[in-house]
């Protein structure tokens, strides 16, 4: 049987998974020492560490699939902005605490569905990473969802901030469900689901949480995109990379 080599598409898919968790993990880690209360500070740091841990697995496998000898660290610290494949939402600035938790929930809810599907991947390595990450994400989504509800259905000010956060972030949700040739190839190989197929379940979850949070989901489905395909990123990604990568750039190969 002549099967088209899937490794280029798989590599691309793994970058999308790993870059999402890398960039969001870095963003969330920016709260370390700055959260409104100690308990939230530790909880956010835990989430960030979970995401960085998942990154090591996704990018580690990406390097293996690529076969050029690049490690997870090489991929994280030695690529430039145009090589990143994360969705735009995760690179957006944190904003206030409410906006950070809104973004977290919007991402967690997608990631939970994605990982659940990936547990049945035809690629055992992908399925294994998904099974491990899914346990972490089940907790993340419960926590971020509860916080969105608590703040949305909270005081007048917290409600207004959460609605503003949802209005700001919602146009970045659609990108996570877009499908292109890479998605079609890995879906055909049974490695990953077509992202578009996850949208209905996502919308149901979002509707349930936002209704409990007394927040209104915008009608407009316009979606910013370009991050996961690498066509373009926001101006923010370059700034993240300068702080994230400077040490390896200034002292190549430094380790401790």
């Amino acid at each position: 049987m002549a099967t088209k080599d899937i490794s280029a598409d798989l590599f691309e898919f793994l970058l999308r998974m790993g870059d999402n968790t890398l960039i969001l993990g870095h963003r969330v880690s920016e709260w370390c020492g700055h959260s409104p209360v100690l308990e939230e500070d530790i909880a956010l740091a835990n989430t960030a560490l979970d995401l960085i841990g998942q990154t090591q697995l996704w990018l580690g496998l990406a390097g293996e699939v690529e076969g050029q000898g690049r490690s997870a660290d090489d991929l994280a610290f030695l690529r430039d902005a145009w090589d990143f494949r994360n969705a735009l939402m995760v690179e957006l600035p944190n904003g206030d605490f409410g906006q950070t938790l809104m973004r977290q929930f919007l991402f967690d809810a997608w990631q939970e569905l994605m990982l659940d599907a990936l547990k049945g991947s035809s690629d055992a390595r992908v399925a294994e990473i998904a099974a491990k990450a899914a346990k972490e994400v089940a907790y993340h989504v419960e926590r971020s969802g509860d916080t969105v509800i608590g703040l949305g259905d909270g005081t007048e000010e917290s409600h207004a901030r959460m609605q503003a956060a949802l209005d700001y972030l919602y146009p970045y949700v659609g990108e996570m469900f877009e499908s292109d040739a890479v998605d079609a190839a890995v879906a055909k190989a049974g490695i990953a689901p077509d992202p578009a197929s996850l949208r209905d379940a996502y919308d149901a979850k979002l509707a349930a949480v936002m209704s409990e949070a007394t927040l209104t989901i915008p009608d407009d489905r316009f979606a910013h995109n370009g991050g996961r395909t690498g066509r373009m990123h926001t101006e923010h990604l370059g700034h993240i990379l300068t702080s994230m990568q400077w040490l390896q750039r200034a002292y190549p190969g430094a380790s401790w």
Binding site: L38, E39, A43, Y139
Partner: protein
């Protein structure tokens, strides 16, 4: 308006522990968040298999000033310790 979240006392049963032990306290808006916060604050190094939380105001404690009448009378009653018996190994942890 009171802006501080209530205080919760946290009890954790460890990997090999037989019972929950008090490990510390934290603040949280409600019981569910207190459990979540306890998970994040007190079990991040794989310390626990079960968490209890109780709002601190629900705990009734002895008065430190009553230590004498409360505890000293039992000091001299060593016969209340069952140390005069050999406990069979089969009984396990007591």
């Amino acid at each position: 308006m009171k802006n501080e979240w209530p205080l919760w006392e946290v009890f954790i049963r460890g990997q090999h522990g037989m019972s929950h032990r008090h490990v510390g306290s934290l603040h949280a808006p409600d019981a569910e968040m207190a459990v979540k916060n306890a998970r994040d604050v007190y079990t991040r190094r794989n310390e626990g298999v079960s968490i209890w939380v109780v709002e601190a105001r629900h705990i009734t404690a002895t008065n430190p000033g009553d230590k004498g009448p409360m505890f000293e009378p039992s000091e001299s009653k060593i016969y209340r310790h069952p140390t005069f018996f050999d406990i069979p190994d089969d009984v396990g942890a007591m």
